[in-house]
Structure formats: C-alpha cells, structure tokens
Amino acid sequence: MIFLIGLKMASVYLQNVSLSYPIYGASSRSIKNFLINKVATNHFISKDSIIALNSINLDIKSGDRIGLFGPNGSGKSTLLKVISGIYKTKNGICSVDGRTTSLLSISSGMDFNGTGIDNIFSRGFLLGMSYAEISSLKDKIIEFSGLGNFINLPIRMYSSGMQMRLGFAISVFSNPEILIMDEWLSVGDEEFSVKANNKLNSMINDSNILIIASHNLDLLKNICNNIVHLSNGSITNIEKII
C-alpha cells in the first residue's frame, strides 16, 4: 500500500446513464397558463422532451485519454456536462472521483467591468480553486497571458483576443485531476497559440484523466487512447488507439 501514497487516483464511472431535455415553450413557462391547464383539464401540460443520452456505459480509469467523436447533436457536450456535474441524471449511476475542471467555455463567468486581476479570482473560484491557490498562481497567470500592465484595466477595454488569452491562462493553471474539454482550445495570435498548445499539452500530461469532445478525428487519434463514437445519444463504437 505504501507506494500508493502520493499517487493520485481519479476515476469516472457511468452506468446506464440516460438524459432527456424537457422542452419548455413560451406558454409552459407561465404560471397562469400552468394553473389554468391544471384546473381546466386536470393534468399538467404535457412535457415533450428530446432524448440526448441513451444508456451510456463508460468506465474511465486513471491515465485514460478519452475522445468523444460524433456529429452535431450526438450528445457529446451533454455527456461532458453530465460528467462535470452540471446536469444531474435521473436514472443510472454517474460517479466522478477527483478534482474536475471543465473547460467548456473559457470566457463564461467573466465580469467585463472588473479588472484582469478581479477576473482571475472570479474565474478561479468558479473553477473550484481556493483563495490561497489563486493567490499563489496569480503571477504565473499574468505572466503567461502576456497582458502586462493591461491586467489592471477593466476587461471591457481588452481586445477580444486579449480576453480569450486571459480566460485561457486562468483555465490552464487550475491543475485538475480530471480535465474536461469541449473542442481543442486555440486562442490568440501565432506566437501565443504555440505557447498555448505547449501549455495545454503539459496540462493534459499532468492530468490523470482527459475527456475531450471534438469533430476532428485526427486530433483525437493523436492525443487519445480511446475514441468513443457517439451517434444520436448512444455509444456506437469504442475504438482503442495503440
């Protein structure tokens, strides 16, 4: 047992996970119509739904690099959101063990009136980092983003490229055990994007588990050891890359 100490073990286990999105039209969002329907017809407004995931089984162990591949609307992003804990499943088991960071969108949660430093803390907190962690990483993040003195200005003054660079820099320093990504992140000018790719690669190497959704099969073949093919919410094939 002694050599297990210090070795980070993370795991993601999905068994029979199904998920459907309820469709809410304009009228079903009104309490007046809801109550009138209840009184008049004695039943609630019929809830239509779209099946997004259909009995997904996945067992992801430490060291796995999982690529999710499939056309639009095949459930890739939904599956990522289930694993990150945003959508809770009503049936099936979804257990995620380990510190998770999901880079689903690198600019959400940014406050455009706040300064760069404010946003480092805001997004850091949203990604689940502690105050001490963010404080210690702050200088590294500023240096990596290459924003210099701009960091003290409100980010609405930034160009869109600079905003993306800041968002990216905060995200890649979060040091997760389980990294969840929706598409490969490419940001900034040529010089920055080389740096960003290197950093992203080293982050992926440091993480225990990577789960990435992409349309780019070549990219997935390069970085993943398992490619999960999704179609209409079901797993059609799990391809092993050696």
């Binding site: 969002r29 959101k81 945003i86 689903l104 009136n113 949203l126 689940g128 409100p154």
Partner: protein, 258 residues
C-alpha cells in the same frame, strides 16, 4: 450531485459568493463616483420631505415620528430589495448555471451579501437620525445582531423558494414585484400600528409586520417585545421545510429550466 470534489469544498463557495457579492457592489461604483450612495441620498431627501408632512397626517410628534419612519423605511428597502433580487438570482445567472456545477446556495448568498452591503450604505441615514434625536441610547448590539441574523435567514429562505419558482415560471417575478408593492402599503412603515383601531387582523396576518418590527426593535426604536422575534423564528422554521421540499423536487431540474 455526484461529484465528490464539490461536496468536499462547500466552504470555498461561501468565500466565492462573498467575493462575487463585493464585485457586484464594486461594479456599481465603477461608472459613478457615489455608486450605491446615490440611493442613500435619494432616500434621505425623500424622508426629509416626507417626515414633516406625514407626521401631521398621522398626528404624531415629529421627533417621535422621524426615527420610526427612517428606520422602518430603510429596513423595508433592505427587505424588499433582497426578496426581489434573490428571486431573480437564478434567472440572472442562467449562463453560470449551465457552465459550472455550483451549488444554488452560491447564487442566493451572493445576492444576500450584496444587499447587506447596500444596507450598510443606507445605515448612514439611521445613524444620523438616531444621533440627532438622541435615540441611539436605546441601541443594544445584542438585539441588533439577533434581529439582523433572523431577518437574513428569513430573507434567504423566502428568496430561495421564490427563485426556483421564478426560474421555472417566468411570469412570477412580476407577481413578486406586485405583491411587494401591496405589502409596502399594508405594512406599518409610514404609519404606526397604534393608528389601526379596527381590522387589526390584516396587520397580524401580514408576515412583513413582524419582520419590520424585529428590525425596529433591533435598532432600538419602539418598545422591546419578544413576540415578533418568536413569530419570525416560527416563520423561519416553516420556510426551512418548504425550502427543503421545493429544493428536493426541483434540484435536479434547475439546469434544464435555466
């Protein structure tokens, strides 16, 4: 919630909501030098003009009426603003709900902390009036702390119940604003409960009566009674269970409603 990580680190989100609450206030200061103090100034001008007129309508002495009105009105501003902002807290953070698996308490706490800071701004009015009339001698920090904590818990639960309903049914926020408007007139803010001779049951049936009374007693305006504290405690007890029930039935659906 299946993710163990987020279960372990709930205190972290308390700090996060504190941070975001302060950021919200800071944003109000960014474009205007005075920020939330504008509301304080507007309120104080209104109270200055209202005091002499309304004290005559209700036949009270100005020096008695002023502290009563100011404390009541500032308290009401805090209560009504908190309820309306808390009930909109989830609707306004749809973007975050869909991107980060944060506990819903984060959004409620953020709104509540923001409103407590605004209350701190408006406290200047109360402070000036109390010093001017000499009523500050009745101020008891223990009563004040108990009152503020009770009111905050009350607002937290009522706001979080409403926020979930507001997220599901998008016409409820207007309803809440409408009810708050009615409550302003039937709660003893401008007038004293002693003025009501018949139909007193309307007074006693209004939950806000007890909340505003607790606030006044906490500041030290009015007689010290324990009954409003007791009623507020019972309200909190009931609201806690209603919140648990609403949360139990809706917790899984909140991201879909956003």
């Amino acid at each position: 919630m299946n993710n163990i990580f987020y279960k372990k680190f709930i205190p972290r989100f308390f700090l996060a909501s504190l941070w975001f609450g302060f950021c919200d206030i800071k944003n109000r200061y960014i474009r205007s030098f005075l920020g939330p103090l504008w509301i304080t100034i507007a309120t104080s001008i209104m109270l200055l003009a209202m005091g002499p007129i309304y004290s005559q309508i209700f036949g009270s002495i100005l020096s008695d009426y002023y502290p009563f009105l100011c404390v009541g009105y500032v308290g009401w501003l805090f209560i009504s603003q908190s309820i309306s902002e808390l009930s909109n807290s989830l609707v306004n953070s749809e973007d975050l709900i869909k991107q980060f698996p944060l506990p819903m308490h984060f959004y409620y706490l953020r709104a509540l902390i923001r409103n407590n800071i605004v209350l701190l701004h408006n406290f200047i009015i109360i402070l000036i009036v109390l010093i001017y009339t000499g009523d500050y001698k009745n101020f008891n920090p223990v009563y004040f702390a108990i009152a503020l904590i009770l009111i905050n818990i009350f607002l937290y639960y009522i706001g979080s119940i409403l926020s979930i309903i507001c997220l599901r049914f998008r016409d409820v926020p207007q309803l809440v604003a409408c009810i708050l408007q009615i409550l302003f007139f039937i709660t003893p803010i401008l007038w004293s409960p002693a003025n009501i001779l018949t139909h007193r049951y309307i007074l006693y049936l209004n939950p806000m009566y007890y909340v505003i009374e607790v606030f006044r007693i906490g500041i030290g305006v009015g007689n010290i009674e324990y009954f409003p504290f007791l009623v507020l405690g019972i309200f909190i007890f009931i609201l806690f269970f209603i919140f648990r029930i609403v949360y139990y039935f809706s917790n899984n659906d909140i991201p879909y409603w956003a």
